[in-house]
Subunit: 306 residues, 2 copies
């Protein structure tokens, strides 16, 4: 699966992923009102509004980008209707030829992790029929429970040609609280990076492994170290833009082949119409056009710095 | 919310929680066949089968127990229909007067954790109407991202009188890989325990905090240490029974007041009809009766050891 992602990145010349995190406050009023008129003030209405929002952004950007990363929490907060919108978003993005990275950050003990892996990347038999529950291409995984929590994801990746990105060093301000604490003279995240490398050794797909890592753009020094510790690991890099990560800091996350990292922006793209320099040019009816311009600017910004 | 759980534990004289983790292989054939006849070999059929299975177990045990702990991965693996069955299980257990601990192990950066907290413990406004997406009473939370990943859960707990259990030392064989590594001479899980204590200080509800911890029954020595580090923290203890945790090991998790811990069993209860000493006495049509007897035995076993 990582080779498919790399092909798309190369084809579009865009090492970026658009985070489809449709917080209701980013969704234009007219979309919300239309949904509420149809479905009342219900979770179903919220779900309809975010799905319409997503589809417009995908329609306006899919030719420019290799992949999207829906953040499932933003859908789960609208209960079952929200998760239905998540699933429809995944399917819609697949129809448009996009790779879908499910940002689900799941992780549990062995048998339970297997169920999460099946839910997002695998298939399950009901009687004699195989069903694909959510059917993303990649999922993000939390490593706190150790190898037997991650291994079932790797097994499903190997069986179904899917991939994962394991949290190594997250982009948030307090990520260092545990992740930077020293163990035998090295921070926890470096030990996790060692494990990610090891977990991915049996999952090579071309020059890179289907087992990737997450390292935040907000921590370029740690990105450089992570890059060296895991030479064949693709790095998903959140935190560019709204969270403060800058293009010049991203170089550290890439290999000399120009590959090895894919940079996410969520709010910076999907809420572009509410932010400088787009908000004066686009009203809320043209939010998707603002997203398209923001994608072009992001690609130029990152390719310029690399 | 923790005071409500303690009241129920005291009323039933049962510091236990039944894990509703309906892996399809535990569900009797006749329930699966019935569902497949109605819905075909679909995720909907699987969801119908696990919901019928859960309801029968709840009907047979609700008068004996204070709480249930559905493991959401077991539902998520059946996609949207599975999550619908999860939600209906939560609602059904509430109708029966049970406290519901959603074993969701969510955790993300701040704004995203807030969405997970809203999804499971809080409410969200659509227009002027407040909606409760999943509406569990407690949720489990992963601490790897640090304070700003956990704080939004604590805030929602304080606002909506709900609770969380934060993973400290998990029950699985490889939990020590990161959790037992020494940082400044103390294992990571002890540092997490310190933080759990701190995170819960503003959430006291009687003698205990609404911010609890998860420590596996399979690690009684670590349980004793965790108990001392977090005197006002309720400990959710998985790993009893099928995973190897024994009643005599559980003493370490409790305080002198006889409170402070609640012990989970999943497979040992819900799949009792497939296991010794119940399988010779109960056929699959009477699986729920086997669960009832297993609950009684578990309560006797644990109360005997305390």
């Amino acid at each position: 699966m990582i080779s498919k992602l790399i092909d798309k990145i190369t084809e579009k010349n865009a090492p970026i992923v658009v985070g489809l995190d449709p917080n209701l406050k980013f969704v234009p009023e007219y979309l919300k009102q239309r949904a509420i008129e149809e479905k009342g003030e219900t979770l179903e209405a919220a779900a309809d509004a975010i799905l319409a929002f997503n589809k417009a952004i995908v329609d306006a950007t899919y030719d420019l980008i290799p992949a999207v990363k829906p953040q499932i929490a933003m859908y789960e907060q609208f209960g079952i209707p929200g998760l239905q919108a998540y699933k429809e978003t995944v399917d819609y993005c697949h129809e448009k030829g996009l790779i879908v990275i499910g940002d689900v950050k799941r992780g549990d003990i062995g048998s339970t992790s297997e169920s999460y892996a099946i839910a997002h990347l695998g298939e399950i038999k009901v009687g004699e029929t195989s069903c694909r529950p959510f059917d993303e291409d990649f999922a993000t995984v939390n490593p706190y429970l150790g190898t037997d929590g991650v291994k079932p994801f790797v097994d499903v990746c190997n069986r179904c040609d899917r991939g994962i990105f394991v949290l190594v060093k997250t982009s948030n301000p307090s990520s260092g609280e545990f992740q930077d604490r020293l163990m035998d003279g090295r921070p926890l995240y470096e030990h996790v990076a060692d494990k990610v490398k090891e977990w991915g050794e049996g999952s090579m797909d071309g020059s890179y492994s289907n087992v990737g890592a997450v390292v935040g753009a907000t921590y370029p020094e740690q990105g450089e170290i992570a890059r060296k510790l895991m030479p064949h690991t693709y790095i998903l890099v959140p935190g560019y833009g709204a969270q403060g990560g800058k293009a010049e800091d991203l170089k550290a996350f890439f290999n000399k082949d120009g590959l090895g990292a894919i940079v996410n922006s969520s709010r910076g793209i999907i809420a572009a119409y509410t932010k400088d320099p787009y908000k004066d040019k686009y009203d809320e009816k043209h939010f998707a056009d603002a997203s398209r311009e923001a994608v072009k600017d992001m690609i130029e910004d990152i390719n310029g710095a690399l």
